[in-house]
Each structure stands twice: as structure tokens, then as C-alpha cells.
């Protein structure tokens, strides 16, 4: 009998610790499938962040290091500079990448570090219990924006994919979503492209993944997917912002 579906080899047997309806699990699986398809599992070093995915080192069946909050692109730089032929990826949330780690992500992209960044944007801090992220939408209620995000004092949500696309050494930048099967298929293609860019040594690649956080949004998984579609995608347009052809 032909096996048509199974657990990717690049994932361990350890059950995910994520909440029901959270998209981290899908994102993990897509990355793992891509590593399997490129047959690079045994030559990959992953860098996990501080945040909900801090335990990703237990889930990915590849060598992993857990970086300090926001510093994953720097830690990945250290690894990749020593091992230029290894596949190196970071997996970061929006507090990690777009707040405390803005310097590291901007400069890793600007240097064109040949790494792949998986950036989970769920518009909130998950692990600490639902505080405002730099990506929190205007008017969105969180623990630290209890009356809604007010752009007059809290600024507007940061569009990281667009921001990093202004950098010449950023080879591949895209934004995808995981809220429905059609988007998941596109997301997988985009993640694959990002790793292909790294395999071809073309420079920095990042896939921003719009994801849900039902627990901290206070919504059911189905409502959360709908909220993402209706609120996040209009502000954070999906698509490719930079592709290797544009790289000088």
C-alpha cells in the first residue's frame, strides 16, 4: 500500500504544546515538509526564539539552538558564518522579531545573511498572556492596550515584510497566511522558495506568516481564522515583496 500522508521526518514525535486553533503547528509542519523535500534535515541548524515557540527545539528533528529574545538572526549569523554550507533558519514571533529584535532582523537582512527567517505574525504577545505587539492592529484590545491600540501614542502596526523589502541584500521576502487550505498551499510554496534561495546562496530570505492566537484574541479557532481574514489580511497584504530576480 502506498503511504500518502505521514509525519515529516523533520518533526519529532513530541506533541506540540500549542493551543487549539493556533497556527504554529501548521507553520512547523510546513517548514518540516520543506526540509524533508530538500533532503536537508541532517544538514540543518534551526534557531528558535523566546515566546510561544520557545519549545520548537523539541519539535523540529534537526539540530537547534534557543536564542535570547529577539537575537535569533544574530545567533543564526554566527552559525551560518561558521557553516556556510548548512541550512540555517530562525523561527520568530512578532514580539521577538518586530519589537525587541528589530536591530538584529534589519541588519541580518541588510548584510544579506544567507539564512531563512520564518516570522509568525499573530498581532499579539502570546506566551506572556496577550500584550500589545508592534503588529497589533489599530483599535485591537490587548492587556497593554486595554482601550484599543491608539496610533497617537502607540504607533501604527509595523509591516515588516514591506520594511525589509527596501533592503538590497534581502533576496526573498513574502507574506502568507494559514487561515484556509488555499492559503496554506501558497504558504508552503513560499517557504519552499525561501529555502531554495538559501540553497542557491542568494542571500537573506523571510516568510512572514499571518497566524491566529485564539486564546489571546478571545475567539474560537473558527472565529479567529475569520478575524484574520477580515482584519489582518486587509492591513497586511499577502504576496511576494522581493524575489531573487530583483537581487543585484
Amino acid at each position: 500500500m502506498k503511504k500518502v500522508f505521514g509525519r515529516p521526518e523533520s518533526l519529532t514525535e513530541v506533541p506540540f504544546t500549542y493551543c487549539p486553533g493556533c497556527h504554529h503547528g501548521i507553520a512547523h509542519r510546513l517548514v518540516a515538509e520543506v526540509l524533508d523535500e530538500f533532503k536537508v534535515r541532517e544538514n540543518t541548524i534551526g534557531v528558535c526564539p523566546v515566546g510561544c515557540s520557545v519549545f520548537a527545539y523539541l519539535f523540529f528533528n534537526v539540530d537547534m539552538i534557543c536564542a535570547a529574545h529577539g537575537r535569533a538572526p544574530a545567533t543564526a549569523t554566527g552559525i551560518k558564518r561558521v557553516k556556510p554550507d548548512s541550512i540555517v533558519f530562525t523561527y520568530q514571533g512578532d514580539g521577538d522579531l518586530a519589537s525587541i529584535g528589530t536591530a538584529e532582523i534589519v541588519h541580518a537582512a541588510n548584510r544579506g545573511e544567507n539564512i531563512t527567517v520564518i516570522f509568525i505574525n499573530n498581532a499579539i504577545y502570546g506566551m506572556t498572556g496577550g500584550q500589545m505587539a508592534p503588529t497589533t492592529l489599530v483599535g485591537q484590545v490587548t492587556q497593554t492596550s486595554p482601550y484599543g491600540r491608539d496610533p497617537k501614542t502607540m504607533g501604527y502596526p509595523i509591516r515588516m515584510a514591506e520594511m525589509l523589502s527596501t533592503l538590497k541584500r534581502a533576496a526573498y521576502i513574502s507574506r502568507v497566511a494559514l487561515n484556509k487550505p488555499a492559503n496554506i498551499i501558497k504558504a508552503k510554496k513560499s517557504i519552499k522558495k525561501a529555502f531554495q534561495v538559501q540553497l542557491d546562496k542568494k542571500g537573506f530570505s523571510m516568510v512572514e506568516i499571518l497566524s491566529t492566537c485564539p486564546t489571546n484574541w478571545g475567539l474560537s479557532p473558527i472565529e479567529a481564522s475569520k478575524w484574520l481574514e477580515e482584519n489582518m489580511i486587509p492591513y497586511y497584504p499577502l504576496g511576494e515583496f522581493r524575489t531573487p530576480e530583483e537581487v543585484a
Partner: protein, 351 residues
């Protein structure tokens, strides 16, 4: 015999590191250590299987060190006081993860932005941990450019031996001065095999990880105790100091680095005036040479600790003396270097 060269302290560290097999350097410019960053750029950018990155910040630099160190290579970063403060979070992660690396601090006057003159005011930060949590660095304090070279090479060996970050604690004076140095042939040191923990890709084995946390307090306590065992071993096996003129000394100066060198001149001046002054110069600040100080306290009743700070190492001297002798202190702050004359004047108060 090795070759002799005239070198500036900061550049001598770079050359020593490269000769010790360090091919990876991540740093950020800051006075008075920038010559070291520039030296590493000049050398490593031209070498194969090597990397130099001018990081976006000291924070990024130490986290690049963390990544590189986790693959098992010899790696270094350097800075001066305010920059070392920025690195502390990363150093704490590295110490907890038990990966080796070398960090150089050419201290300048503080606190705050301070100035760019030599200082020893980062002693507490260097020897008591510096970042959050229970950990120590292996701290080496050179007092000549030759010793900078020798101790830099030793720092890589010690870091590998104990899988712990090692720090060279110098100051702006030693970093900036030029002296003749010799790169000696070094005896082969037996070092532990790294293949059991390095991140290389999991070909032919189970996947592994380098992390600095465990949410189970029982496991984290065991982890702390395991790390603490290394510090006990360091205290047993790696203490280094220089003792000068301790026999029948009327007073013993305790000083490290640049200040110890100045104190040696004080001792000569005192001799001419008929005073017998001794010196204990800790070379390892962690592990601290407690025993020689305790033993000397049994014979000499007066100590004078001299530092370019307002009194930091003196606390460890007092702990070692443990009430058996009088411990006095003289310090200059803000980047002022004490002269041999003023140390002698201070010493005479107790003679």
C-alpha cells in the same frame, strides 16, 4: 624561541587569538579597544574558513558569538566597559548553555558613558557574574602586553576545558601601550572532545540542541549545581597569582593588572627608604587566589589593596583575610591611574 615583535596591547590580543586557532570574531567599535576589532578585520577577512562581522551592536555581537560557539569553533568578541554591559544577557545565556568563548574587556572609566581612560571599575561585573543568574566567568587579568598574549591563548584553552566563557579583564592602558612580545611555542594541552555537544547538523545521530532554560525548577537546580561543580574545580586547579617579596613584609599590597605593575615600582622605592613591602598579584580574578592571601594574613598583619576603582576587589581580599589582618584600601576612580609615589605615601600611613 618564538618571534619577538613590538605590538600594541589590543593588536597583540588579536594576534594571540588567531594563533590560538580563533577564526571567528564578532564585535562593535568602542574606545579604547577598537584596534583589536580593526586587527581582526584586517586578518580574518583575508583568511579562509574564517569570519569577521562588525555587528550592529554589542548585543548582536555576543549573540553571534553564541551561535558560532555552539558549532564548536574558537570564537571571540571584545569591547570596553559600556559595551560589556550590553553583552551581559548574552554572556549569561552562553554560561548557562555551557559553550566556550572568549570575551575581552579593556576597561574604561565609568559608570555610565564614563570616559575613555583606564579603569578597573568592572571588577564586580566580571568576577561576580555580570548578567542574571548564578554563574561565573573565568577571569584573567594581564599586567603586561606579553601576559596579554599568553593569557589570551590560555583563555581559549580554559574556556574549552571548562566549556565556560572566559574573560580577559584588561584596561585602556594595557590595550594602548606598546611592548615587545614573544609568541612562544606552546605545550600541547589535552582538551575535551567537543563532538558530544556541538551543533553540526544531525547526520548519523539523534538531533540535539543548545538551550539555556528549563521550566522545571528541579531540573534547573540540578543544572545550576552541575555548573557550580565546574567553579569548584576551577578554584581547586586553576588559581594563578604572582607573589613578590612576601617574606618578612611589613605590609602586603594586593593589586592586579596595570596597578600591580605600578605597585612593583612602589616596592622598589620603599626598599630604598627601608620599608619592606610585598605584593600579591592575582592573575586569575575568578578563581580568586584566596589561599595565598589567607596564608599571608597569618604572617603579615597589614594589607593594602590598591585598585583603579573605589573598592571592589578589596571585598574579596577581606573575605580571604577573614579578620586575621588589617585590610586597607586605596583607589582612584574615573580613569585616574595612581602613581607609584602616591601608593607609597598611602602605604606609609600603615607602616
Amino acid at each position: 624561541m618564538g618571534e619577538k615583535m613590538l605590538m600594541k596591547g589590543n593588536e597583540a590580543i588579536g594576534e594571540a587569538a588567531i594563533r590560538a586557532g580563533c577564526r571567528y570574531y564578532f564585535g562593535y567599535p568602542i574606545t579604547p579597544q577598537s584596534e583589536l576589532t580593526a586587527y581582526m578585520a584586517k586578518k580574518l577577512l583575508k583568511m579562509k574558513d574564517a569570519a569577521f562581522v562588525q555587528a550592529e551592536s554589542e548585543i548582536a555581537a555576543i549573540n553571534m558569538v553564541y551561535g558560532a560557539a555552539s558549532t564548536g569553533v574558537r570564537v571571540m568578541t571584545s569591547s570596553s566597559s559600556p559595551g560589556i554591559s550590553l553583552k551581559q544577557e548574552g554572556i549569561s545565556y552562553i554560561a548557562c548553555s555551557e559553550v566556550p568563548c572568549v570575551v575581552v574587556n579593556m576597561q574604561r572609566g565609568g559608570p555610565g558613558l564614563g570616559d575613555i581612560q583606564p579603569s578597573q571599575a568592572d571588577y564586580f561585573q566580571a568576577v561576580k557574574g555580570g548578567g542574571h543568574g548564578d554563574y561565573h566567568l573565568i577571569v584573567l587579568a594581564p599586567s603586561s602586553v606579553q601576559e596579554l598574549v599568553d593569557l589570551t591563548m590560555d583563555a581559549f584553552d580554559l574556556a574549552d576545558k571548562y566549556t565556560n566563557p572566559a574573560m580577559i579583564l584588561g584596561d585602556g592602558l594595557i590595550g594602548q601601550m606598546m611592548e615587545a612580545v614573544e609568541f612562544k611555542e606552546r605545550p600541547k594541552v589535552e582538551l575535551p572532545d567537543k563532538s558530544g555537544w556541538t551543533l553540526t547538523g544531525c547526520k548519523g545521530r539523534e538531533h540535539r540542541y543548545v538551550v539555556s532554560f528549563d521550566l522545571d525548577p528541579n531540573i534547573l537546580e540540578k543544572w545550576n549545581l552541575k555548573i557550580n561543580e565546574k567553579y569548584k574545580k576551577l578554584k581547586e586547579k586553576e588559581v594563578r597569582y604572582e607573589a613578590v617579596n612576601l617574606e618578612n613584609a611589613d605590609l602586603v599590597i594586593v593589586a592586579y593588572g596595570t596597578v600591580a605593575r605600578i605597585a612593583k615600582t612602589t616596592i622598589q622605592m620603599a626598599k630604598k627608604e627601608g620599608f619592606n613591602i610585598g605584593l600579591i598579584r592575582p592573575i586569575t580574578l575568578f578563581p580568586f587566589p584566596e589561599k595565598i592571601i589567607a596564608n599571608t594574613a597569618g604572617k603579615t598583619k597589614k594589607f593594602l589593596t590598591v585598585e583603579m576603582s573605589l573598592g571592589q576587589m578589596v571585598e574579596d581580599v577581606k573575605l580571604a583575610v577573614n579578620g586575621k589582618a588589617e585590610v586597607n584600601f586605596y583607589g582612584r576612580a574615573g580613569g585616574i591611574i595612581p602613581s607609584p609615589e602616591e601608593i607609597l605615601k598611602e602605604a606609609k600611613k600603615y607602616l
